[in-house]
């Protein structure tokens, strides 16, 4: 039978020991929560540039530089991906769906344009621009001669839905305007055409044919939606299919671009968690043993006046349990406060130059593109459950230390006063 009045009087009267124990547990649980929450938020941040495009992995392949910057050409970072290769990729284990696009530069005498061919029915890639419509409508899968313009380009060129745009002497009806900046910085363009139309232009373009073999079903950008856990393995398999020149972007590749510190943080978050738990375990076990040592006469008295070992363990165990629960609550509060503070942090994830749709030789084209991501450190129920389990482990450890000390204690030795 546990006497709560006694439990509370011990906790309150021995406030110094109590507060040290609570602080130690709270700190360890706080570290455990923050390290893991920050690790998760970084993982989410590294996925952001690709998730903007609804993809887990993007695929492209570098090739030769166009001989002349005249008419439609393929940038050297996006050489053709042939249909046979695309079919092999889509059949890889873990792939859920895949979108294709075709990025081109058009060096027209009237001005330079970035063009992307889109399959409007896709659920990833530039087809997501249908969510960023500003006016008119998006492309329809059954039409060949429609075009959608980027908002900035439309404004600068004074174009709007209902007018016509000529690309390589072909007229395209402008059906809508989208704000590309709302979606992504990858695979964004000034002009969006149906993929089939873009393919025809590329296949017929002398600038493309001069350096590539472009078939009518080819594309040069793949957006693969797949199991997140398999993204690295998938990247390896895609490279095997597409050869050394393939650029396969995954959350890991974005993480690696940020440098070794982030890689280390990710790899060692488990180690830091385990270490903080071990330290807490050791310190609490030590504090509990010291508590038992300090209270030897009291425990001796308990034994002398007829308390059984179970009674004593129940009583002192209840004190420890309350301290651990308070420590856990303190750790959660600490974790929440730290998570809130860290959520104010924004990190800039660099976009590799080969993923930038703009030519580097154009004004501003050589600037490093970045995707700014707020960290959004959040504490998941799983993390809270882990913290609870960790506290429980600490409690079991301290109970073990306590039981060991109490069993060894001989009342005749601690109560003797000669």
């Amino acid at each position: 039978m546990i006497h709560w009045h006694y439990v509370l009087s011990e906790i309150v009267h021995r406030w110094r020991r109590t507060s040290v124990s609570i602080s130690l547990i709270a700190f360890s649980i706080g570290v455990l929560i923050v390290v893991n929450a920050v690790g998760d938020s970084f993982q989410r941040a590294f996925r952001a540039p690709l998730e903007d495009m609804g993809a887990t992995v993007t695929v492209q392949r570098s090739g030769d530089v166009p001989e002349k910057m005249e008419g439609p050409v393929l940038p050297c970072s996006v050489a053709p991906i042939h249909q046979q290769e695309t079919e092999k990729v889509v059949q890889l284990p873990g792939v859920q769906s895949m979108s294709q696009a075709l990025l081109m530069w058009d060096f027209d005498p009237k001005g330079f344009r970035i063009i992307v061919g889109v399959r409007p029915e896709d659920d990833s890639g530039p087809a997501l621009l249908k969510k960023a419509l500003v006016s008119g409508r998006f492309l329809d899968k059954n039409e060949e001669n429609s075009a959608v313009l980027d908002l900035t380009f439309a404004r600068n060129a004074n174009l709007e839905p209902g007018q016509t745009l000529e690309i390589w002497d072909r007229p395209f009806n402008i059906v809508g305007v989208v704000d590309s900046s709302r979606i992504s910085q990858l695979a964004t363009a000034q002009v969006y055409l149906p993929l089939s139309a873009a393919r025809k232009i590329a296949a017929e373009s002398s600038g493309v044919k001069a350096v590539h073999t472009f078939e009518k079903d080819d594309s040069n950008l793949l957006f693969v939606r797949a199991d997140r856990d398999r993204s690295d393995e998938l990247a390896r398999q895609i490279k095997e299919i597409m050869g050394e020149k393939a650029t396969v972007s995954t959350p890991t590749s974005f993480q690696e671009m940020l440098g070794s510190v982030f890689v280390l943080t990710d790899k060692f978050s488990l180690a830091i968690s385990v270490l903080s738990l071990l330290v807490a375990f050791f310190l609490v076990a030590r504090t509990t043993a010291a508590n038992v040592r300090e209270r030897r006469p009291e425990i001796g008295t308990m034994k002398a006046v007829g308390w059984t070992r179970k009674d004593i363990l129940g009583q002192i165990g209840s004190e420890t349990l309350i301290i651990i629960l308070l420590g856990m609550v303190g750790g959660l509060v600490l974790g929440f406060v730290a998570a809130k503070a860290l959520s104010l942090v924004t990190i800039s994830i660099p976009i590799p130059w080969e993923m930038s749709p703009r030519p580097h030789f154009m004004p501003g084209g050589g600037d490093q593109l970045t995707r700014d991501v707020r960290l959004h450190v959040s504490i998941s129920p799983v993390l809270m459950a882990s913290a609870f389990l960790a506290s429980l482990l600490i409690g079991i450890g301290s109970a073990w230390a306590m039981a060991r000390s109490i069993t060894r204690l001989k009342p005749s030795e601690v109560l003797r006063y000669e």
């Binding site: 006694y6 009291e298 007829g306 059984t308 003797r416 006063y417």
Partner: protein, 221 residues
């Protein structure tokens, strides 16, 4: 049964010494027995053996006919809870609990209702003249008051035997005398036996039987 304490050839060895050597003694119901001896003569070790706080190396201890050798640690604790009260030289009160809770402390692990425990504790505090100090912490009490609280605690479970280890050792002579008189009064008021270890031979004048201990051996005067 009239014999409350009985030891048979009781010995205890440790660290190459033998503080208790072949002790045979018996104490009957409602006796006030004292065990006199110099410091280090083995008195407290013998008291620990009688109270089941230590295990003998050899021999037997019987409390109200019950052989302690047949009991495990928890059974010994229960025997102490039901039949034995302890009074120590250092009082050994719980520093975080007020006097009334210290008196009721042995009953905490039992099913005695809280109100009954408080009523009994207050009654015993009255008996030792400390009802006005019921809510004071031990640190707020004098040495004599603390020992009175310890005596009240020893009585809370209506024990048949009270074992006292130098109960006046930390008190001035006047307070010590009051405490001994209080303990002697218990024999007259209730069915209790007192076995007291002391080096103060003035205590012997209150005792119905006196034992002497020297070099681990006990003789009765």
């Amino acid at each position: 049964m009239n014999e409350i304490i009985k030891t048979q050839d009781l010995s205890k060895h440790f660290d190459g010494i033998e503080p208790v050597r072949n002790v045979n003694l018996s104490v009957n119901r409602r006796e006030f027995a004292t065990l006199l001896g110099a410091s280090g003569s083995g008195k407290s070790t013998l008291l620990g053996l009688i109270g089941g706080l230590e295990n003998p190396t050899q021999g037997k201890v019987l409390i109200a006919g019950q052989d302690l050798a047949n009991l495990n640690e928890d059974q010994l604790a229960l025997l102490r809870r039901e039949k034995i009260g302890f009074v120590f030289q250092a009082f050994n009160l719980i520093p975080t609990l007020p006097a009334i809770e210290n008196v009721g402390f042995p009953l905490y692990p039992t099913r005695v209702p809280a109100q009954e425990r408080k009523d009994r504790s207050l009654e015993l505090l009255k008996k030792v003249g400390l009802e006005v100090r019921a809510n004071n912490l031990p640190s707020e009490l004098s040495g004599g008051e603390r020992q009175r609280v310890a005596i009240a605690r020893a009585l809370i479970n209506n024990p048949r035997l009270i074992l006292c280890d130098e109960p006046t050792g930390n008190l001035d002579s006047k307070t010590g005398k009051d405490i001994i008189e209080l303990l002697a009064q218990l024999i007259d008021d209730s069915d209790v036996t007192i076995f007291m270890v002391t080096h103060d031979d003035k205590v012997a004048q209150y005792a119905s039987r006196t034992f002497f201990m020297k070099d681990g051996e006990v003789k009765e005067s």
